[in-house]
């Protein structure tokens, strides 16, 4: 039986972008990677196309993160220059970017597994699919999600408190 990738694409693309966005923190890059996932999918006939897509997406994002670390090291050298030349952004955009940055920081406080489970759930994956992708038991997903949510909220509150304290 062959997979109708164009149908899967319609159903899954935005979920994949949502998932990838919290991994690469760049809207264009997330879209680009999501398309790349489908490019790789075309020659495949996996049993569970959605699960396959998310697994490949997670791998691509991981590779991306590794090269991002290399890039960042490189960028450190010219960082000051960038900050000086950065164009002024409208307040609303800036505020949004700040809030997103806080959530990003909070997410980074989670263990890798907890974060993965939370992001997969948020991108519409079922408990069974998350279990299949992470190797966890289906029964363990609820507990993992509960912990991940608690840590996320707590880490975020801690960041906000620090913010307020700094004034």
């Amino acid at each position: 039986m062959s997979v109708d990738w164009s149908a899967v694409y319609r159903e899954t693309f935005s979920d994949l972008v949502r998932f990838l966005h919290r991994k690469v923190w760049d809207a264009d890059r997330a879209q680009d990677l999501a398309q790349e996932v489908f490019v790789r999918a075309l020659d495949q006939e996996p049993e569970n196309p959605r699960a396959w897509l998310f697994t490949v997406a997670a791998n691509l994002a991981r590779d991306e993160a590794r090269s991002a670390i290399r890039r960042r090291r490189h960028l450190q050298l010219i960082k000051t220059e960038i900050e000086v030349t950065r164009p002024a952004e409208p307040d609303a955009l800036l505020e949004r970017a700040e809030r997103e940055h806080e959530v990003r920081k909070a997410l980074e406080a989670l263990s890798e597994r907890d974060r993965e489970v939370l992001l997969l759930w948020d991108a519409g994956q079922s408990y069974e699919e998350i279990a299949a992708q992470t190797g966890l038991a289906v029964k363990a997903i609820g507990t993992t999600l509960a912990r991940a949510r608690r840590r996320l909220v707590e880490a975020h509150e801690a960041l906000e408190d620090r913010h307020v304290a700094r004034g």
């Binding site: 164009s6 997103e100 408990y127 608690r150």
Partner: protein
């Protein structure tokens, strides 16, 4: 029943939200909740926590943008596949070249011992024979090798002049057959340059040097084939396979008015609804399709008394038609087309484009309301 732990409470709430909670689990938990105020409190806490977490995640969600067309994905895959094929093919021809050299040296070594009886080297005939046998292996990948042969075109004259008179004539004739395909429009040539560029980008110098074998291979093919018509057919096939035929193909499908669209009014092929398996039997070969796209319909018919099949696939809102006939019908298609028809066909093809690929003895004509490049990329995805 004992208290419901936090994990189960989250699973319960998640299951309610997504509507995928097992009935028994739901009943168990709800029964317990009616009896246990403690768990009801914890359920409320879990609910708050869930909501807080998802609103935080929403803050970090990408802005919703319109879904890019699936054709983008196909085009991307197609472009990559095409470059891969060119590289793979260049490696193949390089291998073929190396094999020929090894063969020639080997034959020379054997001939060295037998020379001198009457001054003629018997090894030469054998070398030629062996070379003839070796040639098809370098040109086995019909479309791709021909592309390379075409890329190597500038080198051809010098190779041809080194050939016997007879073969030169055949080769010239074969090229004359290709000429109309290349002549009518500047566009295909531009696209060809793209391919050449892509090839050049991906190639290491030794591979670039080995490219000459493509032209040599084809010249030798003409030599191996003494009859005019065969050379002509080869020329036509080359022209088709090279993708130079994109315009010719428009002409062919329009000229014959292969039905698909409001642009073309007369359907000369009467299509009968069928399925993949039956169409494969009808055509006596497997039906080709673009992977990853749903198949809308399969039909069978006939063209010049030969079996034909038509597969319709869909990408988003674009319908792509794949008309498939045995490769031997190619010569017919070219011969039956006059210059007038060709012009007419070109004039009519403002919105539709067509392209032709040859795969395993089947000619596949693709037609769709897509830019020619996109269609060509789609065509390159046919395995």
């Amino acid at each position: 029943m004992s208290h419901v732990d936090e994990g189960r409470l989250h699973a319960y709430l998640d299951g309610l939200e997504r509507n995928d909670l097992a009935d028994s689990e739901r009943r168990d938990i709800e029964r317990h909740l009616t009896e246990c105020a403690d768990c009801r409190t914890r359920l409320a806490e879990a609910r708050l926590l869930r909501e807080r977490a998802s609103s935080l995640l929403d803050v970090a969600a990408p802005a919703s943008t319109p879904l890019p067309p699936f054709a983008d994905v196909l085009a991307r895959a197609g472009g990559r596949e095409r470059r891969r094929r060119i590289v793979r093919m260049n490696r193949l021809t390089a291998l073929g070249w190396a094999a020929t050299v090894v063969l020639a040296v080997g034959v020379g070594w054997i001939a060295r011992g037998t020379m001198g009886f009457d001054g003629t080297p018997p090894g030469r005939q054998r070398a030629e024979q062996l070379a003839d046998e070796a040639v098809p292996s370098t040109s086995a990948e019909t479309p791709d090798v021909s592309v390379a042969a075409n890329v190597a075109e500038p080198e051809q004259p010098s190779i041809i002049t080194a050939e016997p008179e007879e073969a030169r004539e055949d080769a010239i004739q074969a090229r004359r057959q290709r000429a109309p395909a290349a002549a009518p429009a500047a566009e295909p040539q531009v696209q060809e340059r793209d391919i050449a560029q892509a090839a050049a980008e991906e190639m290491v110098p030794s591979e670039a040097a080995a490219k000459g074998i493509g032209a040599a291979g084809r010249a030798a093919e003409a030599e191996a084939d003494p009859s005019d018509s065969a050379a002509r057919e080869q020329g036509a096939r080359d022209a088709f396979a090279q993708g130079v035929v994109a315009h010719e193909a428009v002409a062919i499908s329009e000229g014959l008015a292969v039905r698909t669209d409001a642009d073309v009014t007369v359907p000369p092929i009467e299509w009968v609804s069928s399925d993949s398996a039956a169409a494969a039997v009808h055509l006596a070969r497997p039906i080709h399709r673009i992977p990853g796209l749903p198949i809308e319909s399969v039909e069978t018919g006939s063209l010049f008394g030969q079996p034909a099949a038509r597969l319709v696939q869909r990408s988003d809102s674009v319908t792509i038609e794949l008309i498939q006939v045995p490769e031997t019908v190619l010569a017919n298609l070219v011969r039956d087309l006059g210059a007038d028809e060709r012009r007419q066909g070109r004039a009519a093809s403002t919105t539709l484009s067509a392209t032709v690929v040859v795969r395993n003895g089947t000619t596949v004509i693709l037609r769709a309301a897509l830019p020619p490049d996109s269609l060509r990329l789609l065509a390159s995805r046919i395995p």
